[in-house]
């Protein structure tokens, strides 16, 4: 029986660029270069490894995002995923985590799945809650924040390195998994992969395809409101000294002056 894997990937503003907010206090996704969230590359990588170990598996990558989010899908396809779904609708602009999880859950159900694999967090919102929310909505086990994952005989196993302990987890499929950046380096797309990706199918769905009303998502449907966003004032220039043999002493002097010693 084939193993149907859906990987959720987000198209995010480049963290090394000048990220900012648009006038409506949503993340500006137009004026900043975007890319496949690096943390979702780990999810694609683990999906590929799980598929390689399975007899028969199919990987669908799924994104919710503007037109340019197709770039994220292409990247995932060129890494080796089989097909892609792009959920795009003007009414999605400004959707928060609760709304995102609704759209992802509906899309995952429509696509058909045994295993959903997500990244640990998006690099723009950094909430790290969407996988848990999708699991709650789907009513399937959440096996999240794994630094090691494997699937065998309809059971997913993994290691979750928490604050207090490292835990071994186990759940029956269908399940929602998220993986951390400790799960293993993501592969680079090969030239062959990039060429092959051009021919792989990318489906486009809108809210109607998913039976979601416009009011349930977007800025209007959001459960949270951002009232203000202010740029953090640049830190006042500090004192910088070159070590001429007295650096340690000078630093101690500074720390003592600040009452740290």
């Amino acid at each position: 029986m084939s193993l149907r894997i859906v990987v959720t990937v987000k198209y995010v503003p480049d963290a090394t660029g000048d990220r900012h907010f648009a006038d409506d206090l949503t993340v500006d996704r137009d004026d900043v270069d975007g890319l496949l969230s690096e943390l979702d590359e780990y999810a694609v990588e683990q999906a590929l490894q799980i598929a390689e170990d399975a007899d028969d598996a199919e990987i669908t990558v799924l994104t919710i995002g503007p037109e340019d989010a197709k770039d994220a899908l292409r990247k995932a396809l060129s890494m080796g995923a089989d097909k892609a779904i792009h959920v795009e609708d003007d009414d999605l602009h400004g959707t928060d985590a609760i709304g995102t999880s609704l759209v992802l859950a509906k899309a995952v159900e429509k696509a058909g799945y045994d295993l959903v694999i997500s990244g640990m967090a998006s690099t723009d919102g950094t909430m790290g809650v969407v996988p848990a929310l999708v699991a709650e909505r789907l009513g399937v086990p959440q096996v999240t924040l794994l630094s090691e994952v494997s699937v065998e005989d309809g059971v997913v196993k993994g290691r979750r390195d928490g604050d207090a302990a490292s835990e071994q987890l186990e759940a029956s499929l269908p399940a929602v998994v998220s993986v951390t950046d400790q799960s293993g380096e993501a592969r680079y797309p090969s030239f062959k992969g990039i060429m092959a990706a051009k021919k792989k199918p990318v489906e486009s769905w809108d809210l109607e395809d998913l039976d979601i009303e416009a009011e349930e998502v977007g800025l209007e449907g959001a459960y949270t409101v951002v009232d203000s966003a202010t740029e953090r004032p640049a830190r006042t220039a500090g004192t910088i000294v070159k070590d001429e043999g007295e650096g340690g002493k000078q630093l101690a002097e500074f720390l003592a002056g600040q009452k740290f010693i």
Binding site: A121, A132, D161, A164, L169, T224, R235, K249, F260
Partner: protein
Amino acid sequence: MAEVLVYVDHVDGAVRKPTLELLTLARRIGEPVAVALGGGAADTAAALAEHGAVKVLTHEAAEYADYLVVPKVDALQAAYEAVSPSAVLVPSSAEGKEIAARLALRIGSGIITDAVDLEAGEEGPVATQSVFAASFTTKSRVAKGTPVITVKPNSAAVEAAPAAGAVEALAVSFSDKATGTKVTGRTPRESTGRPELTEAAIVVSGGRGVNGAENFAIIEALADSLGAAVGASRAAVDAGWYPHSNQVGQTGKSVSPQLYIASGISGAIQHRAGMQTSKTIVAINKDAEAPIFDLVDYGIVGDLFDVVPALTEEVKSRKG
């Protein structure tokens, strides 16, 4: 006065500091009612009462340790239904965020994660967040339902505010989803005897410049002289020089200590994301052009192998 539900993070009854900070914030918006689950839950009451909990709802069951997240969501939901609070506050750990999010979804509410401050507002609590690697500060509210907010460590001072802290047993019936993800093994983290990274007043971190696992001894020596926690950049962690649990940054811990000392760390955006809100920042780096120097209050351009041991000696002799 409206009651505010506070989810308690504790280890066998020992309440962790971020929960006490939450009580400070909770008192700004109402009367804190604490929810403590799992082994030792009742032992948390004294500390919680001393910091303002009017009530402590407790429930012990093996499910909390044997299954992931969902039993705790079931319990928090039971508490929510019993208390009808005006807000729910949860410590911003990885698990805390997942619990809070699932609760919010169940009760038809919005969720705000990683708040660094919280005030009462006309339309409900206003949360301050630090976003885009701390380059922006936002103020947000939950617009629908009962606000569910997770708060980062070091967001408020722990304050004594004695209250009744009456212990009450919470009635919890687990949902059929509670046992979906089984915890089949658990290896507790070994204690280093140093302060918890996210809670420490001082953090001393080393990066690729430390150049080897064995050299982290000099970072640890400085940390110990200051009573600090030890952090590491991802480059140092990826090289296998220091455990991932000590990584500071976007995919590691986010810290906000009084003093952060970075040695041999360039200051990449992902590292800054986890330390930029530190009150005082100090860096030692041999490259005068390293971006970390844009953040510092005091920086030494020099070799960490000279500067760090010298600093450690100075600290020790000054402390006598």
